[in-house]
Amino acid sequence: MANKPVITAKEAAAMIPEGATIMCGGFLACGQARAIVKELAASGKGGFTLIANDMARATGPMGEEFFGIAQLIHNHQVKRVIATHVGMTPEVGQQVNEGTLEVNLIPQGSLAECIRAGGAGLGGVLTPVGVGTLVEQSPLCLGKQTIDGKEYLLMKPIHADFALLGTYKCDAYGNCWYKGTMRNFNVVMATAADTVIAECEYLMPVGEIEPENIHTYGMCVNYIVEGERK
């Protein structure tokens, strides 16, 4: 095994080009790589496609303004969003109405499963969820199939150029552990992008995370960023 480069949030943001497709772990920014996202917001780069459960929050838990990837929306740095819910960031709806943003909404379980499929080399996901709904018209839906008398949607695997993980502990080999509800989409996203950057609150010596309790394996992580402790 080899150590993974530890870089700054600014270096991480610099690595991401205009127009990149970026997966961001996190649910309302809990478990989000917020330091990297902040630098990405400061970079002014745009044209991003964001894949995330939601677009984070206009207001953080302690009143922070534009918490997590909500900043990227606010700065008009995003051209397309794949998410399950954007209700906590009203600017998303505004930008859609203005015609500057495309939003593809898909069910939460389908988003998790499509990302997992993208990382696990599967051809698609056959889920009963979304049958008979607008999801059938989603660009992420490849059609309907009947198996054993039951209808399923065939959903497309999702893969990205970058995945930004919001982890709690990370060791020098890139092994990660998530506290509480931080885990959410990070685990699948870590498998489904060309370049995976793990931001952590605590950079730990190798061996601190028990071999049985690793949530994201170092082999999936390319770079490590030490972020802010909360």
Binding site: F27, P61, T84, P107, Q108, R116, V129
Partner: protein
């Protein structure tokens, strides 16, 4: 019934659907009141989309488990894990939902119809929300129970056929309102309980779908 009593009345009736050890998901609003009405000895495992299998109560800022940056609920508020509960990633979590490991989900509706179709996630032209985990829950939970006020501003919400975009088709098992309890069957809605404050005709007037009355239709108060 006083307007202020309606939600509690519905939540109390919903609580009767549950038995000790059930795994349940509670939608926002009224469903979150259900645990307040559980019979003695009935302990639920509250399943939260955000990644908690066995969610606890929301801690206050002075509590030792207050951790709004690491443990939150789907509304973004501080949350906690119950003793013996666990945290889970989204793929495993929704695998359990779709796989029928959640005994019941309780949620509100904008519209619900005689075929068990449910619409509760979007009103075209209004603000852009998202289905979140609602579609998965409606399809995956063993029982999908709609709990809501029978009408909205006097207009029926129980229809012959939903007009709004669906959350899921043929998913609803039971509808619980302040007026009655409907079971959704192959032959349409069957009223199995009625609030004695109302007559069958009252229910008919407030319902835009045909329904039959079960031979053994009971009082909701029993």
């Amino acid at each position: 019934m006083e307007k202020s009593e309606i939600k509690g009345f519905i939540a109390k009736r919903c609580a009767k659907e549950l038995k000790d050890g059930d795994v349940v998901n509670l939608g926002i609003g009224l469903p979150t009141m259900i645990p307040d009405y559980l019979p003695e000895g009935v302990h639920l495992l509250i399943h939260a989309e955000l990644g908690i299998v066995g969610a606890g109560v929301a801690p206050k800022s002075a509590d030792t488990n207050f951790d709004p940056y690491h443990v939150i609920d789907a509304g973004g508020g501080p949350c906690s894990v119950a003793f013996g509960g666990g945290f889970i990633d989204s793929a495993m979590n929704f695998g359990l939902i779709r796989g029928g490991h959640v005994d019941a989900c309780f949620l509100g509706a904008l519209e619900v119809d005689a075929e068990g179709n449910l619409a509760n996630w979007i009103i075209p032209g209004k603000k852009m929300p998202g289905m979140g985990g609602a579609m998965d829950l409606c399809v995956g939970a063993r029982k999908c129970i709609v709990c809501m006020e029978h009408t909205a501003k006097g207009n029926p919400k129980i229809l012959e056929k939903c007009r709004l975009p669906l959350t899921a088709a043929h998913c609803v098992n039971t509808i619980i309102t302040e007026m009655c309890v409907f079971q959704v069957t192959d032959k349409g809605l069957v009223m199995t309980e009625i609030n004695p404050e109302f007559t069958v005709d009252d229910v008919k007037a407030a319902t835009a779908a045909p329904f039959t009355v079960a031979a053994d239709c009971k009082s909701m108060l029993d």
